[in-house]
C-alpha cells in the first residue's frame, strides 16, 4: 500500500477524487436545499388555495358554511392541518384539538408558523386566517412526509458519495497498479542492463500512451548503447589479437635468442626482456579485463554460488602463503552467512577475493602482521571482509585507491599495477554489489565486498 501511495498516478487519482467528492458534495447539498424549498413552496400554494376556498365559503355562508367545509376537509386528507376557533381560541371544528402552546409555536420570517403538534401530526407549517373578530382558522400542512422524503434523499446522496469514493479509490488503485506494473517492467529491464545484459529490452505494451513512447525511447537508447558496446568489444578483441600477435613473436624470438646467448653471457638481459614482456602482457590483460568488466561487455557466468565454500577454497589456497610470510590468520563466519548463496561468476568472485588477499599481503603488513577474513550476513547482504593490521590509508585517500592506476607514493616500490582494487570494485558492481573501504582501528585497512543474497 505504501508502495502504491508512491505511484504518481495513484496519488493524482486520490487528489482528484478528493476534489471531486468535495464539489459533488456541495452540489448535492445545494440540490437538497432546492428540492426542500420547491416542496415547501408547493405546500404553501396548496395552503393558499385552501385558505382562499375557506374565505369564499365564509363570504357565501358564514360560520356554518366554514365549519362544514373544515370538518369535511379534516376528514379528507392526512396532510391538511385545520383548527377553526372562536375569538378566545376555543375549538369549533378541525383535526387539531387546540392551539399548541407558545413554546411549540414559532413565527418564521416569511410570516408562516412552524408548529409542533400532537399525534397523529408531528410538525406543521401553517397560517392563521382571520374571518372576523370572533372566528379564526389555523390552516396548514403536516411536514412529516416532506421531512421523510428529504431524509431519504439525503441518505441516497450520502450513499452515492460513498460509492463514488469507493469506486474512485478502487479505480485509482487499479490505475496505479497498472502504471506501477509498467514502470516496474521498465525498471526490471534497466536493472538487467545495469548488471551487464545489454541485450535486454523493455517488453512493448499494447497501449499507445506516453509511457509506451517512453518505453520505445528507452529501447532505442538501449539499442544504441548495445551497438556501442559491441563496437567497443570488437575494438578490444581486435586490439587484444593485434597486440598479442607481435608480442607472441617477440617472446618466441627472445626465447630463441636466450638459448644461444647462454654462451655469450647475455642471457640475463634476455631473461629480463622476457620478464618485461610478461609484465607488459599482464598489465595489458588486467586493463583489458577491467575495461570489459566496467563496460559490462565481459562475459560473466550467472550461477548460484555458495559463498562460504568459495571463501573456504580461496582461504585454503592462501593460508599457506600468509603463514609462510609470518602472518597470523583469523577466518570468521557468522552462522547466518554459512548457507548464503549469491548469483554470479565463481571465477570473478574468487579473483576479487584473491586480489584483496594479495593486496593485504603486499600493502597491509603490520606488526605483527595479521589478517582477518570474515563472512557476515546483514539483512539481504553477505559481506566478505578482509582486514589487515597494516598502516591503512589516509582517510582522504580512501576514495581514490579504487581508481585505475592509483598507487599511493609509499607503495610505488612494491609490486603491483594499481588495478587490483579497481578490478575488485568493477567485479562487485557487475554483481550488483559494492566494495567498501574503511580504516580499521587501531590500524589497518578493511575491504568489504557486499553482495545481495539470493535464496
Amino acid at each position: 500500500m505504501r508502495r502504491l501511495l508512491r505511484v504518481s498516478s495513484f496519488r493524482a487519482v486520490l487528489v482528484y477524487l478528493g476534489l471531486f467528492l468535495a464539489s459533488t458534495g456541495i452540489v448535492l447539498l445545494f440540490l437538497h436545499g432546492q428540492i426542500n424549498r420547491a416542496l415547501t413552496s408547493n405546500n404553501d400554494k396548496a395552503v393558499w388555495r385552501d385558505a382562499a376556498m375557506m374565505n369564499q365559503s365564509y363570504a357565501l355562508g358564514g360560520l356554518s358554511e366554514v365549519e362544514k367545509l373544515v370538518a369535511q376537509q379534516s376528514q379528507l386528507s392526512g396532510v391538511g392541518v385545520y383548527l377553526l376557533a372562536d375569538g378566545l381560541g376555543r375549538y369549533i371544528a378541525g383535526n387539531v384539538p387546540a392551539f399548541p402552546a407558545p413554546a411549540d409555536t414559532q413565527m418564521q420570517e416569511d410570516g408562516w408558523l412552524h408548529l409542533r403538534l400532537q399525534a397523529p401530526f408531528a410538525e406543521a407549517r401553517a397560517r392563521l386566517v382571520r374571518f372576523d373578530d370572533n372566528l379564526v382558522l389555523l390552516i396548514g400542512r403536516d411536514l412529516s412526509a416532506q421531512q421523510a422524503t428529504m431524509a431519504d434523499l439525503a441518505r441516497s446522496f450520502f450513499i452515492a458519495l460513498l460509492l463514488l469514493a469507493v469506486f474512485g479509490v478502487i479505480g485509482g488503485g487499479l490505475m496505479g497498479r497498472q502504471a506501477l506494473a509498467r514502470v516496474e517492467n521498465i525498471n526490471q529491464s534497466l536493472r538487467a542492463i545495469i548488471s551487464g545484459d545489454f541485450s535486454a529490452r523493455i517488453a512493448p505494451s499494447s497501449s499507445q500512451d506516453e509511457l509506451a513512447d517512453l518505453e520505445a525511447q528507452i529501447n532505442q537508447m538501449l539499442a544504441r548503447i548495445e551497438s556501442l558496446m559491441l563496437a567497443m568489444r570488437e575494438v578490444t578483441d581486435n586490439l587484444a589479437h593485434d597486440l598479442r600477435s607481435p608480442l607472441t613473436r617477440l617472446r618466441a624470438r627472445l626465447e630463441k635468442l636466450s638459448l644461444s646467448a647462454q654462451k655469450t653471457g647475455q642471457a640475463d638481459d634476455i631473461e629480463q626482456g622476457l620478464a618485461d614482456i610478461d609484465q607488459l602482457l599482464s598489465l595489458f590483460t588486467a586493463v583489458l579485463n577491467l575495461s570489459r568488466m566496467e563496460a559490462g561487455t565481459g562475459d560473466m557466468q550467472q550461477q548460484k554460488i555458495a559463498v562460504k565454500p568459495l571463501a573456504d577454497e580461496v582461504m585454503e589456497l592462501y593460508q599457506a602463503v600468509f603463514e609462510e610470510a609470518g602472518w597470523t590468520l583469523d577466518y570468521v563466519v557468522d552462522k547466518a552467512a554459512t548457507t548464503a548463496h549469491i548469483i554470479g561468476d565463481r571465477h570473478l568472485l574468487a579473483q576479487a577475493l584473491i586480489n584483496l588477499l594479495e593486496n593485504a599481503l603486499v600493502h597491509g603488513v603490520g606488526s605483527p602482521p595479521h589478517l582477518t577474513l570474515s563472512l557476515t550476513r546483514r539483512d539481504q547482504q553477505i559481506i566478505i571482509a578482509v582486514t589487515d593490521t597494516g598502516s591503512g590509508v589516509d582517510d582522504h585517500q580512501l576514495a581514490h585507491i579504487r581508481q585505475r592506476f592509483v598507487r599511493l607514493d609509499e607503495s610505488r616500490s612494491r609490486p603491483g599495477n594499481g588495478l587490483g582494487l579497481s578490478l575488485v570494485d568493477a567485479i562487485c558492481r557487475r554483481h550488483g554489489g559494492q566494495l567498501h573501504l574503511s580504516n580499521h582501528r587501531p590500524s589497518g585497512l578493511r575491504c568489504e565486498i557486499c553482495l545481495m543474497v539470493r535464496e
Binding site: 578483441d237 589479437h241 624470438r253 592462501y318 609462510e324 574468487a350
Partner: protein, 229 residues
C-alpha cells in the same frame, strides 16, 4: 612427438616450429583451418596445436568438424582471446587445453607433454613412483614403509603430479587443474604449496622426488632420471 601446427601468422609459426624441431618433434604446418582439417584427417598426429582466429575456417569450427568425423587427437588451442567464455567455447568445441598468447615456450612444452600422455593415464587408481605409492580410492599415500598424511588439497596436488610423473608441470597448469582457477596470481602461492608438499614427501628421505625447475615449473621424478628433462 608428431605435431600439427595450424596458425595463420607464418612468422610466429616459423619461430615456434624451429623450437619444436630443436626439441626433436616432427612438425607439420597448415596456414588456415581448411588446410589444417585436411591434414589432420589425412595423417596421424599426437597433438594438434590450433590457433583460434584464422581466415577461411576458424579454429573452433575446424576442431568441431574434426570431432564430428570421429577424430580424438588431443587439441591445444592457442588464442589471443582470454575471457572465460572464450575458454568455455574452446572446450565445448572439443579442445583439450587452452593457452593464451603470448606464452612461454616451456608452458606450451609442458602442456603438450601432458596432452600427449593423457591417453596413457587412463583411470589408474594405484599410482607409483620409485618408493612412493598413492592409493586413490583409499586415499592413502606411503613412501617406503612410512605413511604420509596429506590434507585434501595436498592429495589432489600430489595426484596430479603423479599422473604427470616425469613431466614438467607449470604453475598455471596446477592452478587450473588442482584449484580450478584460470587466472594468474601475483604471489608465489603455488610455490608455497609445492614446498609444503615437498616437506612431507621428501624431508625424511634421502632421494628427493619433487623438484623445481627454474623458469619451467615442477616435476615429480627420481633424481637419477632428471637429466632427460
Amino acid at each position: 612427438m608428431r605435431l600439427l601446427l595450424v596458425e595463420d601468422d607464418p612468422m610466429a609459426a616459423d619461430l615456434l616450429i624451429d623450437r619444436l624441431r630443436c626439441d626433436g618433434d616432427i612438425v607439420a604446418y597448415a596456414e588456415n583451418g581448411e588446410a589444417g582439417l585436411a591434414q589432420a584427417t589425412q595423417d596421424a598426429f599426437d597433438v594438434l596445436i590450433v590457433d583460434r582466429l584464422m581466415p577461411k575456417l576458424d579454429g573452433l569450427t575446424m576442431v568441431r568438424q574434426l570431432r564430428e568425423q570421429g577424430a580424438d587427437t588431443p587439441v591445444l588451442f592457442l588464442t589471443a582471446l582470454d575471457s572465460v567464455d572464450d575458454r568455455v567455447a574452446g572446450f565445448a568445441a572439443g579442445g583439450d587445453d587452452y593457452l593464451v598468447k603470448p606464452f612461454a615456450y616451456e608452458e606450451l612444452r609442458a602442456r603438450l607433454e601432458a596432452l600427449m600422455r593423457r591417453k596413457q593415464l587412463a583411470q589408474d587408481t594405484m599410482l607409483t613412483l620409485a618408493d612412493l605409492t598413492m592409493d586413490v580410492i583409499a586415499r592413502r599415500v606411503t613412501r617406503g614403509a612410512q605413511e604420509i598424511t596429506l590434507q585434501a588439497r595436498e592429495f589432489s596436488l600430489l595426484e596430479y603430479l603423479l599422473r604427470h610423473k616425469g613431466q614438467v608441470v607449470t604453475r598455471s597448469m596446477l592452478l587450473e587443474n588442482v584449484w580450478h582457477y584460470n587466472f594468474d596470481t601475483q604471489t608465489n602461492v603455488i610455490d608455497v604449496h609445492i614446498s609444503r608438499l615437498r616437506n612431507k614427501l621428501d624431508k625424511e628421505f634421502s632421494a628427493p622426488l619433487l623438484h623445481t625447475l627454474r623458469g619451467r615449473g615442477f616435476v615429480l621424478q627420481s633424481a637419477d632420471k632428471l637429466g632427460d628433462l
